[in-house]
Protein backbone atom coordinates (compact mmCIF):
# COMPACT_ATOMS: atom_id res chain seq x y z
CA UNK A 1 0.00 0.00 0.00
CA UNK A 2 1.36 3.46 -0.81
CA UNK A 3 2.46 5.46 2.19
CA UNK A 4 -0.09 8.25 1.77
CA UNK A 5 -3.00 5.75 1.77
CA UNK A 6 -1.66 4.16 4.95
CA UNK A 7 -1.53 7.54 6.71
CA UNK A 8 -4.94 8.56 5.30
CA UNK A 9 -6.69 5.44 6.62
CA UNK A 10 -4.75 5.59 9.91
CA UNK A 11 -5.83 9.19 10.41
CA UNK A 12 -9.49 8.34 9.69
CA UNK A 13 -9.24 5.46 12.15
CA UNK A 14 -7.57 7.44 14.94
CA UNK A 15 -9.85 10.49 14.55
CA UNK A 16 -12.87 8.17 14.68
CA UNK A 17 -11.47 6.48 17.79
CA UNK A 18 -10.82 9.78 19.53
CA UNK A 19 -14.32 11.00 18.68
CA UNK A 20 -15.81 7.89 20.37
CA UNK A 21 -14.29 8.96 23.67
CA UNK A 22 -14.88 12.69 23.16
CA UNK A 23 -18.58 12.81 22.14
CA UNK A 24 -21.24 13.14 24.83
CA UNK A 25 -24.10 11.69 22.79
CA UNK A 26 -23.99 7.85 22.57
CA UNK A 27 -25.37 7.89 19.00
CA UNK A 28 -22.52 10.18 17.87
CA UNK A 29 -20.08 7.82 19.56
CA UNK A 30 -21.61 4.83 17.77
CA UNK A 31 -21.29 6.56 14.38
CA UNK A 32 -17.67 7.48 15.22
CA UNK A 33 -16.98 3.80 15.84
CA UNK A 34 -18.34 3.15 12.34
CA UNK A 35 -15.92 5.76 10.91
CA UNK A 36 -13.06 4.19 12.86
CA UNK A 37 -13.88 0.71 11.56
CA UNK A 38 -14.14 1.90 7.95
CA UNK A 39 -10.59 3.29 8.24
CA UNK A 40 -9.48 0.03 9.82
CA UNK A 41 -11.03 -1.97 6.96
CA UNK A 42 -9.05 0.22 4.53
CA UNK A 43 -5.86 -0.73 6.37
CA UNK A 44 -6.81 -4.43 6.21
CA UNK A 45 -7.40 -4.25 2.47
CA UNK A 46 -4.08 -2.41 2.06
CA UNK A 47 -2.42 -5.35 3.82
CA UNK A 48 -3.88 -7.71 1.13
CA UNK A 49 -6.30 -9.17 3.69
CA UNK A 50 -9.36 -8.63 1.48
CA UNK A 51 -11.60 -11.13 3.25
CA UNK A 52 -10.89 -9.73 6.71
CA UNK A 53 -11.47 -6.17 5.41
CA UNK A 54 -14.84 -7.12 3.96
CA UNK A 55 -16.06 -8.95 7.07
CA UNK A 56 -14.85 -6.02 9.18
CA UNK A 57 -17.30 -3.84 7.22
CA UNK A 58 -20.10 -6.44 7.07
CA UNK A 59 -19.95 -7.77 10.63
CA UNK A 60 -18.70 -4.79 12.64
CA UNK A 61 -20.07 -1.72 10.92
CA UNK A 62 -23.03 -3.53 9.39
CA UNK A 63 -24.28 -5.74 12.21
CA UNK A 64 -22.60 -4.93 15.52
CA UNK A 65 -22.81 -1.14 15.36
CA UNK A 66 -26.42 -1.25 14.11
CA UNK A 67 -27.14 -3.42 17.15
CA UNK A 68 -25.54 -0.77 19.38
CA UNK A 69 -27.60 2.03 17.80
CA UNK A 70 -30.72 -0.12 18.16
CA UNK A 71 -30.06 -0.67 21.88
CA UNK A 72 -29.44 3.07 22.39
CA UNK A 73 -32.80 3.72 20.73
CA UNK A 74 -34.48 0.99 22.81
CA UNK A 75 -33.20 2.35 26.13
CA UNK A 76 -34.21 5.90 25.14
CA UNK A 77 -31.71 7.56 27.42
CA UNK A 78 -33.10 10.82 28.71
CA UNK A 79 -30.10 12.43 30.38
CA UNK A 80 -26.59 12.48 29.04
CA UNK A 81 -23.59 12.33 31.31
CA UNK A 82 -23.56 14.96 33.99
CA UNK A 83 -21.38 17.96 33.09
CA UNK A 84 -19.53 17.98 36.41
CA UNK A 85 -16.94 15.28 35.92
CA UNK A 86 -14.79 14.10 38.80
CA UNK A 87 -11.14 14.75 38.06
CA UNK A 88 -9.80 11.47 39.42
CA UNK A 89 -10.98 9.05 36.66
CA UNK A 90 -9.82 11.42 33.92
CA UNK A 91 -6.39 11.87 35.53
CA UNK A 92 -6.11 8.12 36.12
CA UNK A 93 -7.10 7.38 32.54
CA UNK A 94 -4.62 9.84 31.07
CA UNK A 95 -1.81 8.59 33.32
CA UNK A 96 -2.53 4.98 32.35
CA UNK A 97 -2.56 5.85 28.64
CA UNK A 98 0.64 7.92 28.94
CA UNK A 99 2.41 5.03 30.68
CA UNK A 100 1.21 2.67 27.94
CA UNK A 101 2.40 4.99 25.17
CA UNK A 102 5.83 5.48 26.74
CA UNK A 103 6.19 1.72 26.98
CA UNK A 104 5.01 1.26 23.36
CA UNK A 105 7.44 3.82 21.94
CA UNK A 106 10.25 2.37 24.03
CA UNK A 107 9.60 -1.10 22.63
CA UNK A 108 9.11 0.02 19.02
CA UNK A 109 12.30 2.08 18.96
CA UNK A 110 14.31 -0.96 20.06
CA UNK A 111 12.63 -3.63 17.93
CA UNK A 112 13.89 -4.44 14.42
CA UNK A 113 11.80 -2.87 11.67
CA UNK A 114 10.60 -4.73 8.57
CA UNK A 115 9.44 -3.54 5.19
CA UNK A 116 6.52 -5.20 3.45
CA UNK A 117 7.46 -8.43 1.60
CA UNK A 118 6.60 -8.09 -2.06
CA UNK A 119 3.75 -10.09 -3.57
CA UNK A 120 4.97 -9.90 -7.17
CA UNK A 121 3.57 -12.01 -9.99
CA UNK A 122 6.71 -14.17 -9.93
CA UNK A 123 6.28 -14.86 -6.19
CA UNK A 124 2.61 -15.76 -6.63
CA UNK A 125 3.30 -17.98 -9.65
CA UNK A 126 6.04 -19.78 -7.71
CA UNK A 127 3.65 -20.35 -4.79
CA UNK A 128 1.18 -22.10 -7.12
CA UNK A 129 3.38 -25.22 -7.04
CA UNK A 130 2.25 -25.94 -3.46
CA UNK A 131 -1.42 -26.37 -4.41
CA UNK A 132 -3.27 -28.94 -6.57
CA UNK A 133 -2.59 -28.05 -10.20
CA UNK A 134 -6.22 -28.28 -11.35
CA UNK A 135 -7.63 -26.24 -8.46
CA UNK A 136 -8.86 -22.63 -8.41
CA UNK A 137 -6.06 -21.49 -6.08
CA UNK A 138 -3.30 -22.63 -8.41
CA UNK A 139 -5.09 -21.16 -11.44
CA UNK A 140 -5.45 -17.72 -9.82
CA UNK A 141 -1.87 -17.77 -8.54
CA UNK A 142 -0.59 -18.62 -12.03
CA UNK A 143 -2.37 -15.49 -13.32
CA UNK A 144 -0.55 -13.42 -10.69
CA UNK A 145 -3.64 -12.77 -8.51
CA UNK A 146 -3.90 -13.43 -4.77
CA UNK A 147 -6.97 -15.69 -4.24
CA UNK A 148 -7.40 -14.46 -0.68
CA UNK A 149 -10.85 -15.93 0.02
CA UNK A 150 -9.94 -19.31 -1.47
CA UNK A 151 -6.74 -19.46 0.58
CA UNK A 152 -8.62 -18.57 3.78
CA UNK A 153 -11.25 -21.18 3.01
CA UNK A 154 -8.54 -23.73 2.35
CA UNK A 155 -6.83 -22.99 5.68
CA UNK A 156 -10.11 -22.83 7.59
CA UNK A 157 -11.48 -26.17 6.43
CA UNK A 158 -8.23 -28.12 6.51
CA UNK A 159 -6.24 -26.88 9.51
CA UNK A 160 -8.94 -25.21 11.60
CA UNK A 161 -11.92 -27.53 11.17
CA UNK A 162 -12.44 -28.38 14.87
CA UNK A 163 -12.15 -24.73 16.08
CA UNK A 164 -14.69 -23.75 13.42
CA UNK A 165 -17.21 -26.29 14.74
CA UNK A 166 -16.58 -25.22 18.34
CA UNK A 167 -17.25 -21.65 17.17
CA UNK A 168 -20.60 -22.79 15.78
CA UNK A 169 -21.51 -24.24 19.20
CA UNK A 170 -20.43 -20.96 20.82
CA UNK A 171 -22.73 -18.95 18.54
CA UNK A 172 -25.61 -21.32 19.34
CA UNK A 173 -24.97 -20.94 23.10
CA UNK A 174 -24.82 -17.15 22.71
CA UNK A 175 -28.13 -17.12 20.82
CA UNK A 176 -29.86 -19.25 23.45
CA UNK A 177 -28.30 -17.15 26.22
CA UNK A 178 -29.54 -13.89 24.74
CA UNK A 179 -33.08 -15.29 24.37
CA UNK A 180 -33.05 -16.49 28.00
CA UNK A 181 -31.69 -13.15 29.24
CA UNK A 182 -34.36 -11.21 27.36
CA UNK A 183 -37.22 -13.52 28.37
CA UNK A 184 -36.50 -13.49 32.09
CA UNK A 185 -37.18 -9.77 32.24
CA UNK A 186 -40.56 -10.03 30.54
CA UNK A 187 -42.52 -11.29 33.57
Amino acid sequence: MPSYLFWLFSTIMLIGGTAVVAFRNPVSSALSVVTCFVGLAGLFIGLSAFFVGVIQILVYTGAVMVLFVFIIMLLDLKDEEKPSKPLLPIAAGLALVAAFLVQLIGILSNSPDMSEPTLSKATLAAAAAGFPADGKIAAALQLGKLPDVHLIGNTLFTQYNLPLQILGVLLLVATVGVVVLSNKQAD
Binding site: S3, G17, I72, A129, L167, L181
Partner: protein
Protein backbone atom coordinates in the same frame (compact mmCIF):
# COMPACT_ATOMS: atom_id res chain seq x y z
CA UNK B 1 5.82 2.00 1.94
CA UNK B 2 4.60 1.67 5.51
CA UNK B 3 6.80 -0.55 7.67
CA UNK B 4 5.79 -3.05 10.33
CA UNK B 5 6.54 -0.60 13.15
CA UNK B 6 4.15 1.95 11.61
CA UNK B 7 1.31 -0.57 11.77
CA UNK B 8 2.22 -1.56 15.33
CA UNK B 9 2.36 2.11 16.39
CA UNK B 10 -1.06 2.90 14.88
CA UNK B 11 -2.52 -0.23 16.43
CA UNK B 12 -1.05 0.70 19.81
CA UNK B 13 -2.52 4.20 19.54
CA UNK B 14 -5.97 2.75 18.80
CA UNK B 15 -5.61 0.42 21.79
CA UNK B 16 -4.61 3.38 23.99
CA UNK B 17 -7.68 5.35 22.83
CA UNK B 18 -9.90 2.37 23.69
CA UNK B 19 -8.24 1.99 27.09
CA UNK B 20 -8.70 5.70 27.83
CA UNK B 21 -12.39 5.39 26.94
CA UNK B 22 -12.89 2.39 29.21
CA UNK B 23 -11.29 4.17 32.17
CA UNK B 24 -12.71 7.66 31.61
CA UNK B 25 -16.27 7.24 30.34
CA UNK B 26 -19.14 6.32 32.65
CA UNK B 27 -21.83 5.45 30.13
CA UNK B 28 -21.65 1.65 30.03
CA UNK B 29 -22.62 1.48 26.31
CA UNK B 30 -19.66 3.70 25.39
CA UNK B 31 -17.37 1.63 27.62
CA UNK B 32 -18.55 -1.40 25.65
CA UNK B 33 -17.81 0.33 22.32
CA UNK B 34 -14.30 1.16 23.54
CA UNK B 35 -13.79 -2.54 24.31
CA UNK B 36 -14.60 -3.21 20.64
CA UNK B 37 -11.96 -0.64 19.65
CA UNK B 38 -9.37 -2.48 21.73
CA UNK B 39 -10.29 -5.83 20.12
CA UNK B 40 -9.97 -4.24 16.68
CA UNK B 41 -6.54 -2.84 17.54
CA UNK B 42 -5.43 -6.38 18.35
CA UNK B 43 -6.88 -7.52 15.00
CA UNK B 44 -4.80 -4.90 13.15
CA UNK B 45 -1.66 -6.21 14.83
CA UNK B 46 -2.53 -9.78 13.85
CA UNK B 47 -3.18 -8.89 10.20
CA UNK B 48 0.03 -6.84 10.03
CA UNK B 49 2.07 -9.76 11.39
CA UNK B 50 0.28 -12.09 8.97
CA UNK B 51 1.29 -9.91 6.01
CA UNK B 52 4.87 -9.18 7.09
CA UNK B 53 5.75 -12.76 8.01
CA UNK B 54 7.64 -14.33 5.12
CA UNK B 55 6.43 -17.91 4.80
CA UNK B 56 8.09 -20.71 2.87
CA UNK B 57 5.85 -20.28 -0.21
CA UNK B 58 5.98 -16.46 -0.29
CA UNK B 59 2.26 -15.96 0.51
CA UNK B 60 1.00 -14.13 3.63
CA UNK B 61 0.79 -16.28 6.77
CA UNK B 62 -2.89 -17.17 6.91
CA UNK B 63 -2.75 -18.51 10.47
CA UNK B 64 -2.86 -14.91 11.72
CA UNK B 65 -5.93 -14.12 9.64
CA UNK B 66 -7.63 -17.26 10.98
CA UNK B 67 -7.19 -15.85 14.50
CA UNK B 68 -8.71 -12.53 13.34
CA UNK B 69 -11.67 -14.45 11.90
CA UNK B 70 -12.22 -16.21 15.23
CA UNK B 71 -11.80 -12.98 17.22
CA UNK B 72 -14.41 -11.18 15.08
CA UNK B 73 -16.89 -14.05 15.49
CA UNK B 74 -16.40 -14.27 19.25
CA UNK B 75 -16.67 -10.47 19.50
CA UNK B 76 -20.01 -10.56 17.67
CA UNK B 77 -21.33 -13.17 20.15
CA UNK B 78 -19.93 -11.12 23.03
CA UNK B 79 -21.70 -7.98 21.82
CA UNK B 80 -25.03 -9.80 21.58
CA UNK B 81 -24.77 -11.18 25.13
CA UNK B 82 -23.33 -7.95 26.55
CA UNK B 83 -26.07 -5.77 25.12
CA UNK B 84 -28.70 -8.17 26.45
CA UNK B 85 -27.09 -7.81 29.89
CA UNK B 86 -27.11 -4.00 29.54
CA UNK B 87 -30.83 -4.04 28.67
CA UNK B 88 -31.55 -6.31 31.66
CA UNK B 89 -29.46 -4.00 33.86
CA UNK B 90 -31.38 -0.96 32.68
CA UNK B 91 -34.70 -2.65 33.36
CA UNK B 92 -33.60 -3.61 36.88
CA UNK B 93 -31.81 -0.41 37.93
CA UNK B 94 -33.03 2.32 35.53
CA UNK B 95 -29.48 3.51 34.95
CA UNK B 96 -26.50 2.71 32.77
CA UNK B 97 -24.02 5.05 34.47
CA UNK B 98 -21.24 3.07 36.07
CA UNK B 99 -20.85 5.42 39.04
CA UNK B 100 -24.46 4.80 40.07
CA UNK B 101 -23.98 1.01 40.15
CA UNK B 102 -22.39 0.72 43.58
CA UNK B 103 -23.96 -2.44 45.04
CA UNK B 104 -20.58 -4.13 45.32
CA UNK B 105 -19.00 -1.21 47.15
CA UNK B 106 -20.28 -2.42 50.56
Amino acid sequence: MATLNDYLLVSGLLFAIGLAGVVMRRNIIIVFMCLELMLSAANLTLVAFSRFHVTANGLPDYNGQMLVFFVITVAAAEVAVGLAIIVALYRARQTIHTDELTSLKG
